[in-house]
Symmetry: C2
Subunit: 233 residues, 2 copies
């Protein structure tokens, strides 16, 4: 068909595809940033940490661009399903932006860590970080494919990240109690661990938006929570 109407519809769809591609690119940037941040913690490399921090601006800029594209799409007066997509796009890009912030924050804290002798506990962080990166990459695929079932599974496996966080949190406390000199660096590790746990929460938010995209507001099954550090006595 070559009517003017079909032309408009096609180009609306092009814009949608471009928006999706931008969000996936933003997500991949955040995942790489996260890996880079954990790498600089392990290698104790201040100048690489500075690069991770500077790169966060690119993610922030992409979020702004995405907001504009979303506004342009919304101006075309879309239908209810399109609006659900638009709403999900805004929320997902905002979650990715926060994940980027947490990665940059971990890189910042790595510089503070480099002012104290190395701690053996950074290895526990790596397990946590691998889980967080996996959750993020998996949920981006689920978003790309509008796969609500995969999103639901990813959301359920956030409990593993929470459990690992809780156990690292306890380990860090014990370490601090045994050696007062470790308190300052351990505090940074505590906050980095918390950031990774929060990244899991943002991946969960994205998963919930994939569900919303496909099913609207039909509610998701209840979810197990295993982060009990809020109430650790």
């Amino acid at each position: 068909m070559t009517t003017p109407h079909s032309h408009i519809v096609k180009s609306y769809d092009d814009e949608r595809q471009r928006l999706l591609a931008e969000i996936l690119r933003m997500g991949e940037m955040a995942a790489s940033q996260l890996e880079a941040a954990l790498d600089v913690i392990e290698r104790r490399d201040d100048s690489a940490a500075a690069r991770v921090i500077a790169n966060d601006e690119a993610i922030d800029a992409l979020e702004k661009e995405i907001s504009h594209d979303v506004m342009r799409l919304a101006l075309r007066g879309p239908m209810a399903r399109d609006l659900r997509e638009i709403l999900a796009a805004l929320r997902v890009s905002s979650d990715i932006e926060r994940i980027g912030d947490y990665a940059a924050n971990a890189a910042k804290r790595s510089m503070a860590l480099n002012q104290s002798p190395p701690l053996p506990l950074t290895r526990g962080l790596n397990v946590l970080a691998e889980l967080a990166v996996r959750q993020l990459r998996d949920v981006l695929v689920a978003y790309r494919d509008s796969d609500a079932e995969a999103a639901q599974r990813i959301r359920a496996s956030d409990a593993e990240l929470d459990a690992r966080y809780t156990s690292l949190f306890r380990e860090l406390l014990t370490y601090m109690m045994e050696d007062a000199r470790s308190i300052t660096p351990c505090t940074h590790l505590l906050f980095i661990a918390k950031n990774l746990e929060r990244i899991g929460d943002h991946a969960t938010n994205i998963a919930e938006n994939v569900w919303f995209l496909v099913h609207g507001d039909d509610s998701l099954p209840p979810r197990e929570k295993r982060d009990t550090t809020n109430t650790v006595g």
Copy 2:
């Protein structure tokens, strides 16, 4: 005028007003939650803390409702300025939702604190909390009035909250080093203090959205940052 067109325009405006009122109500709920959370920390009252935690659901529910209202408004095919309002409404309600989460988290941590003897340092938290609540209430007024100049001032005064947070952070570290038994409760205070600092960041986000609402993407003047705890050695 009583043409069908003016009727539609008027009711669109009614919906906009209703949306604004909902967001302001949501913001006031978050401010009250925050005050209640700090109050339960001071009074060491577990059952009041449980109420604060439960109340967070009302804020979450309101955010969902607001998203629906925003979608209904967007379906009417608004103009560019309306879309800016809609985008700002989504972002502001999402920031308020996060503030509510932080308040609930502080209440949760108060229960953990109640398992240890009282610490003298909770007073430093109160100063931080008062600043955070003031920032939130002020920025809600700026949002209500679309007052970009007030928003800009509120954004600038986030530096004070950051400076207070940094000083409390250092105080808590010193305390932990002096008394290993205080490490676990002080960790909770550290996270609560961090939550309050993050609430200031969310108030700043809201201020930036007020600016965006009025001026579009014309950039804001640069902002002073005084939270240096990421790089405390």
